[in-house]
Each structure stands twice: as C-alpha cells, then as structure tokens.
Amino acid sequence: MLKVMTTNRFLRVTVLCFVVTTLSACVTARIEEARHTATGISKGEAVVILTQRQNVDYQTEDGFLQCLGDELKGGINLRGEREFMDQLFPWFEPSHAPTHADALRVLLARPGVPERITETGVRYLVWVDGTTQTVDGGGNLSCTVGAGGAGCFGFQWWENDSSYEAAIWDLKSVEHVGTISADAVGTSYLPAVIVPIPIIARTKNAACGGLAKQLREFLVADPLD
C-alpha cells in the first residue's frame, strides 16, 4: 500500500513538474537586418563575438552571449572573446576598442596587428549590445507556512523586453557590413492556488534564437547573392 501511494505521489510530482517546466507564455519577436554589402565565410575563417563593457547601467548578459555562441557553434568557427582580447591586447580593451570602421582601419595599420589577426583566423567581429529588462508588472501573491502545511494564493504578472543588436564588421574589407537587431516582448504570469504555477515568456531565448539564426544566414550568405 505504501509503495502505491509513493508511486502516485511520484507521478503527481512528475506531472506537476512537467506542466510547470513546459508552460510558457507567448513571445512576440521581431528580427531586422540591415546589410551594407555582400558577405560570406570560407572554411578556416572564424568569428568572434565581442561585447560593449563600458556601460555602468547595463551590460549584455553572459548567459545571452553563451546562448548565442551555442546557437552559432554548428558550422561556424567561433573564437572566445577573452582569448581574442588577450591576443590583441590592449587594442580591444573596453576603453580603447575601435568604435567605428575608421578607427578599425587605424588599428589595422598598427605594426603587428594585421599579422596577429591573420593568426587568429578571425574574419568577422560581431559587436553585441543590449539587455533584457522588465518593463511592466503587477498583481499580488502571498505565501504562508503553518503547522498544517504551506501554500500560496494570488496572481502576478510581468512584461519582459529583450532588445539586442549585433553589428558585424568584416576584417577583410575593413567595413561595417551590417547590423541585425532582435527585439522580443512577452508577458509572464504566476497564478497561485496553493501551488504557484509560473507561465514564463522566454523573451531572452527568443531573441537569442532569432538573432543567431539571422546572424548565421548573414555570415554564410553567398557573396554572389
């Protein structure tokens, strides 16, 4: 009898966990691309994703960069940001990194820099900027713990806006070749009747997936297109 009860409880917990982890709210994502010139990447050429790190108020989350890297891995040769910065130290430190194509041309005229970039195999720099913010929210939720057990009651909601931009620089043509932006908005809900059931809008994941897909298409595009 005890065994049956344990199995039932296990099933209930499993179903509850499944429902909780698979429930997700709607996300509206918009991906925009501005291409300035033809691109393409050959075997042996690599890409490095860099971030702007000078803003005190926000910085692109490491988790987003990790997600972008994971999404791009298959088929695209990625170099690590820190490894690239170390190899070209100090020219990509936050306060000295080139912020426009003219500054990149000046940097590439420095002795040793073009040779080192050739050694790294990096063809494209992808400057990623942006963050995920909670822009609105409301509701009320309270939880209590007593001798008879614990429970929550109420309802909460919040709206997240994940807005990211990737500026792509070609080190071969020394040009800013395009920009891709990803904006994902969604509202998450947390209703609770004894047990809180989060219904999460995964805006960051949507922005990451959309940006990575568009970036991949952008980079591997046939130069003759």
């Binding site: 790190r53 005190v56 910085q59 910065m85 190899q87 130290f89 100090p90 430190e93 306060s95 000295h96």
Partner: protein, 186 residues
C-alpha cells in the same frame, strides 16, 4: 588575488629604461569595510609588479630593475617609477546596480639616472564586472577580482596609448637631453 596579464601587441620604443618599484607598490594592500558590514582586503603588490614588468618589457627595448633611484646604472637612459595612488571599489549594493566597479589611479614618474624627477603622468583606469547569483555577496571575491583585473588591464592600455606621445619619451627616443628646468616650464 593572483592575476596574469597578456603580453601587449606593440612595437617597443628604442629606449633603455630602469624600473624602480618601491615598497608601497610591491606590498600594496587595501582594506575596507563596506556599508553592508563586510570587510575586504585586497592585496595587489605582486600583481602590480607583474603588470608593470609585462608592460615595460613590451614597451621599451630594454628594461632593468633598479634598487636605488639616485644611482641608476650607466647603461640606462632614465628611470621610471609606477606609484599606485588610489584604489577604490563599489559593491552592487553601493552602486545600485548588478556590478562591482573598480577604479585605480597610478602615476608614472620619470627620473634621470641621478634621481631627478623629469616628468610624471597620471593613469586613471576603470573596470567593472557583473555579480552573478552564485558569486555575489560576502566573501565572494570572483567579480571583484575580475573588475580589478579589468581595471589593471585598462591602466596598461592607457599607458601604452599615452606614453609614446609624451615629449619626454620622444626626447629619450631621439637621444636628447631632458632636464628638470625644461619640465618645470611646461
């Protein structure tokens, strides 16, 4: 804190320089109790010497450690002494954000081989690092170390960009005599 710094990708300047580290720089320790009551001790002595060894080693064609600033060896043109004037940090609580922020101010002082001061240059640097869920709070040094590392790298970058354009350095490259009087007149 134990940090490693990459070798700068620069062409060295054709100058033979003596490098002098005083005890304050070699044993630099910063103590602070922040508003949440946590006490921090930051030891930067070894990292200072490691940073400047790496920086000056790449920046000048030849460097020699000197122990006495007033009696430099004959085979050097000048002596440079880095001083750490100020180290400060802010925790996420103090900053009202999710970052640790570090600022460092070094001063590089140039002497002739007899110990007469010829010039000095301030180097202000900054670094910040995000605090994560598992690496924030009391006793967690990861983000602060990372922010300090970034600030020291920023200091090196600042020196690399600014020093080669200084008149005194250009004079040394050209083998010209620099004297304290001309420096005072600037």
């Amino acid at each position: 804190m134990n940090m490693e710094f990459p070798t700068p990708l620069i062409e060295n300047l054709p100058i033979s320089i003596g490098v002098y580290y005083d005890d304050d720089l070699r044993n630099f320790t910063y103590n602070e109790t922040v508003s949440d009551g946590s006490s921090w001790t930051i030891e930067l002595g070894q990292n200072n010497t490691r940073l400047f060894d790496r920086l000056f080693g790449a920046m000048f064609s030849r460097t020699t450690r000197v122990d006495d600033i007033e009696n430099g060896p004959d085979d050097i043109q000048a002596i440079i002494q880095p001083i750490l004037e100020e180290y400060a940090f802010l925790t996420p609580n103090e900053l009202g954000s999710r970052f640790y922020a570090v600022s460092i101010r070094y001063r590089l002082i140039l002497y002739d081989t007899a110990g007469t001061e010829l010039a000095d240059w301030p180097i202000n640097a900054y670094g910040q690092s995000r605090s994560g869920i598992f690496n924030a709070g009391r006793g967690k040094t990861g983000p602060l170390q990372n922010a300090t590392d970034l600030a020291m790298r920023d200091a090196a970058a600042g020196a690399i960009v600014s020093l080669p354009t200084q008149p005194e350095i250009l004079a040394l490259i050209n083998g010209e005599q620099i004297n304290a009087e001309s420096n005072d007149n600037q």
